[in-house]
């Protein structure tokens, strides 16, 4: 697995139908979600309301930049993560686990997208991706994606080339600043790689006993795993037609696999320059009077 799973692989069975605003409810959303989303929408005889996890400052800045919140959206997937045999003395990617971790997050993201689409959103800001483990499910994890769906007030569509609302883990403040630079978000992009780091043999251990030296095999394995995760993230951004990715972060977790098997997850917001020339406002020097 050198590239992100293909579009066919990663689209979930549930929540995969992208429907225009005002169209039929997407298949796969739970009935409770449909009822909750319906409550948020304006329709004859019913005044809608929005929900959001934005702070007051974020709410103000989102409005200032020409968007308004539509509703708090979420998606989740409870996923059984199987096992994959690994060789004790060989560093290698565990591609089945990589695929599972990727697909589980993608399912959650797609369901969140489906909720945003149902609301007629142009995008989702402040997206958070979490993984929770429960005592009742051995090798089972819940992947959750949450965020606030927003819509442009000028009528312009900010959906990406796949026709989906953009997603972004940017805060309201960061979203405002990004728009000032003349860039628009296209989507939250990610790449993952589950990698088994080889154990050291007795001979290797004895040969380097008492010495402080580099362990090139370990370095190479960890380096390779991170680069693979980042390459996949960049591949996703390229698919969206992005010019770049901002706020890249690289997370590492062993989950339930023990010390030598690590998931490297790379995340960021793919962006593209908006149409037309744009001048970045000259920042003003300030002195904060806070203590």
């Amino acid at each position: 697995m050198t590239n992100a799973p293909s579009g066919d692989d990663k689209v979930p069975q549930a929540g995969q139908t992208v429907v225009p605003a005002g169209g039929p409810l997407p298949e796969g959303l739970p009935p409770d979600a449909n009822r909750r989303l319906a409550e948020l929408e304006d329709r004859p005889g019913h005044k809608g309301m929005f929900t959001s996890d934005l702070s007051v400052n974020e709410f103000l800045l989102i409005k200032e930049v020409g968007f308004h919140p539509l509703g708090f959206v979420m998606g989740s997937s409870i996923y059984h993560i199987g096992i994959q045999t690994r060789r004790w003395s060989q560093s290698q990617e565990l591609s089945k686990l990589t695929g599972a971790m990727y697909e589980a997050r993608q399912l959650a993201m797609d369901r969140m997208d489906a909720e945003a689409t149902e609301l007629g959103a142009d995008g989702v800001v402040g997206v958070r991706l979490d993984v929770n483990y429960y005592e009742w499910g051995s090798d089972t994890a819940e992947f959750i994606a949450v965020g606030t769906a927003v819509k442009s007030e000028d009528g312009r569509s900010y959906r990406n080339r796949q026709g989906k609302p953009f997603t972004s883990d940017l805060s309201g403040q960061d979203f405002w600043v990004l728009m000032q630079t003349g860039h628009v978000p296209l989507g939250l992009v990610m790449g993952t790689c589950v990698y088994h780091i080889a154990h050291r043999g007795v001979g290797q251990t004895l040969r380097s006993a008492g010495r402080n030296v580099e362990l090139p095999n370990f370095t190479q394995a960890l380096y390779e795993a991170r680069e693979l995760a980042m390459t996949r993230m960049q591949d996703e951004a390229n698919e969206l037609g992005a010019s770049g990715i901002v706020g890249v972060r690289l997370e590492e977790k062993t989950h339930m696999w023990g010390d030598h098997t690590i998931e490297f997850l790379s995340l960021g917001t793919a962006v593209v320059k908006s149409d037309g020339d744009h001048t970045i406002p000259q920042p003003q020097t300030i002195i904060s009077l806070d203590g």
Binding site: D174, F175, T231, Q234, G244
Partner: protein, 316 residues
């Protein structure tokens, strides 16, 4: 991945594949990204470097004199070893004569050069690899460098990490070696505004082992019953500075400063960050380490007075 590899040959194959793909990536926050664009710096890629090192402490936890000139025992000619190599060492001798078998008759502070050298090797390997990635992207420099060291698979193996965002400065000539700095965004903008150009990140670790002698032991244990030892003979008075610890702490900081100064040449250090940690390795014995990091910068223009700043009170 040999440490002697030529620049660019030291990176894994996956790095080359990633760096050749279309979209750039950046570890900068959006505010720092915006600030970089405003300064004329375009991000060209997130760059990283790593080195996994075996980190052996066994000599450090040995008995007296371990690591000195081949591990000669205390009082058996060990002093000649470290002094011959120019490393820091100080000795203390008990003023009381034989009291008991547990009584510490000798004490020593000494520098753990093998740890310092290993740290320097690991840090510079990771940093050099990060710079190699930036070089292969044709970057002018790396901003927002983050580096760290963490244990891996137990305490005997550690990983050094360096990462940052490679940038291309518009209309700037390509440098043979890209600059690097821990700064980004408004802090970097203010540095340049003040007339200083970033050159490179610099860092060092100094490490001193303190093996306490009897007086230090009594002082660290809070003993006030030292009067019978006789203050005239260097005994304990109950209250006062713990000389051996003070000297070890001063030495570890001095060593770090001297080493950084040696890396700076005629340049200056900006944003120095010193972190000192102590670990008890036995009753009354300490291992003291100090890391000092900062940005090597060079003045390139006179300071132009800034426009009058706007005072701001935040409401949040």
């Amino acid at each position: 991945m040999a440490s002697q590899a030529a620049p660019g040959e030291d990176l894994p194959e996956a790095a080359g594949r990633r760096l050749s793909t279309g979209a750039w990536s950046s570890g900068l926050s959006v505010a720092d990204f915006s600030s970089s664009l405003e300064m004329g710096m375009d991000p060209v890629g997130y760059v990283q470097g790593y080195a996994v090192m075996q980190w052996s402490w066994y000599m450090a936890t040995g008995g007296f004199g371990a690591g000195f000139g081949g591990g000669a025992g205390f009082g058996g000619g060990w002093a000649a070893g470290p002094q011959r190599h120019g490393q820091y060492v100080e000795q203390w001798q008990c003023p009381h004569g034989f009291v008991s078998a547990e009584h510490r008759m000798y004490g020593a502070n000494y520098e753990l050069t093998w740890l310092e050298q290993s740290w320097a090797t690991g840090w510079s390997l990771a940093t050099t690899r990060m710079v190699e990635e930036a070089t292969s992207l044709g970057a002018t420099g790396i901003v927002g460098v983050v580096d760290s060291m963490r244990p891996l698979t137990g305490g005997a193996v550690v990983e050094f990490r360096s990462s940052g965002t490679a940038v291309a400065v518009r209309d700037a000539p390509r440098l043979t070696t890209p600059f690097s700095t821990y700064l980004s965004g408004q802090r970097l903008a203010k540095l340049i505004e003040a007339g200083f150009a970033p050159i490179s990140v610099v860092a060092t670790l100094s490490s001193v082992r303190m093996l306490g002698y009897c007086i230090t032991h009594y002082q660290l244990a809070g003993s006030t019953a030292g009067t019978w030892y006789g203050s005239g003979a260097g005994g304990v008075s109950g209250v006062g500075p713990v000389d051996q610890v003070n000297r070890a702490q001063a030495a570890v900081r001095r060593l770090a400063r001297e080493r950084i100064r040696a890396q700076l040449g005629s340049d200056v250090l900006h944003g120095a960050h010193m972190e000192q940690s102590e670990r008890e390795i036995g009753e009354g014995d300490l291992s003291i380490q100090c890391t000092l990091k900062g940005n090597r910068v060079r003045p390139f223009k006179d300071f132009d007075p800034l426009p009058e700043p706007l005072p701001v009170v935040r409401l949040a």
